[in-house]
Symmetry: C2
Subunit: 206 residues, 2 copies
């Protein structure tokens, strides 16, 4: 029942499948992942993966869920290492969110593209995404208390912020944003604009 070092051929096939699938996705997109190919690359037969995942969708869902976990961890490092008082923290989180997506385009696409994963509900995925969302909600609530952000429904505000960064990431990944444009500047402007819209106005409340 090894699981440690000498995984592979015999050993921890399940983990190897996840890793290999992720690698293939990074290389050639989710479409390039075929049960046969993944088996071949790992030196097992085409049906071997079925001992660990009910079907291809299940495998991809697991890979996507792992992506959400990575993203969550990535964001948590920001959450920890920033001045809790300033809204700048929130901005940085948004920035890092987009950066993660741009660095793992195919994986990010898989995480959100239920189309490739049957249009079923996929509670596993929703839950993984939700964990990140709740984290965002918490940060927003903190800034509401400290007075940097309007005191409205924090969940709604979180959806707005999430929409902005997710939308930017998606548009970029799908090639809708001209490559010549300055993506870093665009990321900053996006996070800033949304935060400005969420900020408490000093004079004239709306």
């Amino acid at each position: 029942m090894t699981n440690q070092a000498g995984a592979y051929h015999h050993g921890d096939l399940r983990a190897a499948l996840l890793a290999e699938a992720a690698a293939m996705i990074a290389e050639g997109g989710a479409a390039s992942v075929t049960m046969r190919a993944i088996g071949q690359r790992l030196g097992v037969s085409r049906a071997a993966p079925y001992r660990h995942f009910a079907n291809k969708t299940a495998l991809l869902v697991a890979v996507a869920a792992a992506g959400f976990d990575r993203l969550k961890a990535h964001l948590q490092t920001i959450d920890a290492g920033a001045p809790r008082s300033s809204v700048e923290q929130l901005r940085r989180m948004g920035e890092e969110y987009v950066r993660f997506a741009l660095e793992n385009p195919a994986h990010y696409r898989l995480m959100y593209g239920k189309e490739a994963l049957t249009r079923r509900d996929l509670p596993e995925l929703r839950e993984a995404a939700n964990a990140i969302f709740e984290q965002l909600v918490a940060v927003i609530q903190a800034h509401q208390r400290s007075g940097g952000i309007k005191r409205q429904d924090a969940r709604a505000q979180a959806y707005v912020a999430w929409s902005a960064v997710h939308g930017l990431a998606s548009l970029w990944i799908e090639g809708q944003i001209q490559a010549t444009d300055d993506i870093d500047g665009l990321i900053r402007q996006t996070t800033r604009t949304v935060l400005d819209g969420m900020r408490v106005r000093r004079r004239r409340g709306a």
Copy 2:
């Protein structure tokens, strides 16, 4: 060479294919579109579509492009029928954008999900999307002149706005937004927040 009324079996198969594919997408998602099924539904053989589209991807791209055209037309009606002076026009455009997406979820997903369409460049699609984008840029520029919106790079601002509405639509379509939430309110809040962030501040410029 008919093209008018008595289209079908013989007649305007190309148009029939586009319509049928769109219908199938609306019913069962893009995944449910198969060359054989579409042929069957139209009473032609499986290979018939290949006389009009090089391959399945080409067909889907054409359907997606048609979707962009519909969306553009939809937005133009708003563009025309609103008070040009108020930023409210811009907000309404954003709202209608999201609404279109929510009303045509599978189609919208196809329009932006290049994954389903090979990860090739798809210039046809980019162009179609671009037409809408340029329209948005123009409206933003108009409001910059009238003083409602910060005078910055209008394209960048357009990307920010587009990101927000596209992100919201995507998250909703992919089921990431709890169905219990008030989507209409969320749409309003999203468009408002972003516009607030783009607006000229009366006192204290940032």
